[in-house]
Symmetry: C2
Subunit: 241 residues, 2 copies
């Protein structure tokens, strides 16, 4: 587990790190919600109809091209939120966001959130800083997609997932990972074998177990770390109050 995500299990870190005043402001408006696997949180070009703050599970943000090519650009769990367009004073999402690993969390109406943002500059500031951290993550993804070898990108992706799950076991199929990374399914099979051969993970049938996190970080050192450090600086230890 990364240090910046050390909020208690079953909390959303963005909410948890708010000042008590801001938390008191937003908490009454948050509705508990199940987030089943595959649930669509926002769709490109459409208005955001609910904003979600996961407590568990993992959400993926995917850029989609006209010709149906798609690739994951960002990923979040208890550290983040969907519907960032609202924070940006827009209303339409530009990417697709869905639940990649089931969980639960909170939802809030966009209009309500907008009102709260107007009411509390510190709340707005907090969420803006989160979006800034996401931009850093997306930038790193662009870099990694451009320069990284498959094995390195795979290691980075597994790490980012692992960061957001309080468990070394992850339910992930090669097929799914291949879509997220924008590579062949067979490529992922080969990549996981490489990582298995080095004793970093163990995989079988829709299950990947992280054995050596430090080793994975080493494998992905070119691509992993900078956005995570940004996040910790922007959110983790920067609690207003």
């Amino acid at each position: 587990m990364r240090k910046g995500l050390s909020c208690p299990y079953g909390q959303n870190n963005l909410i948890y790190t708010l000042s008590s005043a801001d938390r008191a402001l937003i908490e009454p408006e948050l509705k508990p919600v199940k987030l089943p696997k595959g649930m669509m949180l926002e769709e490109p070009g459409k208005p955001v109809d609910l904003v979600y703050f996961p407590k568990t599970g993992v959400g993926s943000t995917v850029a989609v091209a006209r010709n149906d090519r798609r690739i994951e650009v960002g990923l979040f769990g208890c550290d983040g939120m969907s519907g960032t367009a609202i924070v940006m004073q827009s209303d339409h999402a530009s990417n697709e966001t869905f639940m990649q690993i089931a969980g639960d969390g909170f939802s809030i109406e966009p209009d309500t959130l907008r009102a709260l943002l107007d009411q509390s500059p510190t709340l707005h500031r907090h969420l803006l800083r989160y979006v800034q951290a996401m931009m850093s993550q997306i930038s790193q993804t662009a870099l990694s997609n451009g320069h990284g070898k498959l094995e390195e990108r795979l290691a980075r992706w597994l790490l980012m997932c692992h960061d957001r799950i309080r468990n070394d076991e992850m339910s992930l199929t090669h097929e799914f990972i291949s879509v997220m990374l924008g590579v062949r399914r067979a490529g992922v099979t080969v990549g996981t074998h490489m990582l298995e051969g080095k004793g970093l993970i163990r995989a079988n049938r829709g299950q990947i177990v992280v054995l050596d996190r430090a080793g994975l970080e080493n494998e992905a050192w070119k691509s992993y770390g900078a956005p995570e450090a940004d996040h910790d600086r922007l959110i983790g230890y920067d609690q207003p109050d």
Copy 2:
């Protein structure tokens, strides 16, 4: 020229599309400034020391990895600004931004801008929506880097540059383009030959001339367009007032 960038030549579109009240607010604080080629506008991990609004020229935002791998993630000209971290209520940049093609524009002190953002929610909103458009552009870059062939990525990049120059001739070396795209210099040579062969551009010695813009767009259709449409929706025709 794209429709969303149709502000008068020698204006910054972000400033130009402000409400008259907001423009009156910010204009006294803007200092005219030359933006020579290669000028560093912000550096990763360092505080933003000035925010720039170009009127002419092109700026590049580049993600840098620890091992010195780098790749351009975003690009802006008279349509944008540097120092978006300030708009996001942060102070440190996470990427490197520099002038790729010389120009001129305005600068403003971060503290001054911060004060203005607090003072005018509509100003803040306007700039936030610009950052949202940039996120869309970065996402598309990640997608393009992951899936796109060199020729297609090259076409997209030339289009994005062309959008921000009021001229079909662009001073660009293969070497420079190769760094921006994160590919070999020789690869760019081959790619430009392909585009030349199709009659879309003409290139010689540090000069690239766009001959057939529509053809270029066709060549890059998978990657070009969506972020530009987002930008136009968020900024171009959404003038408060």
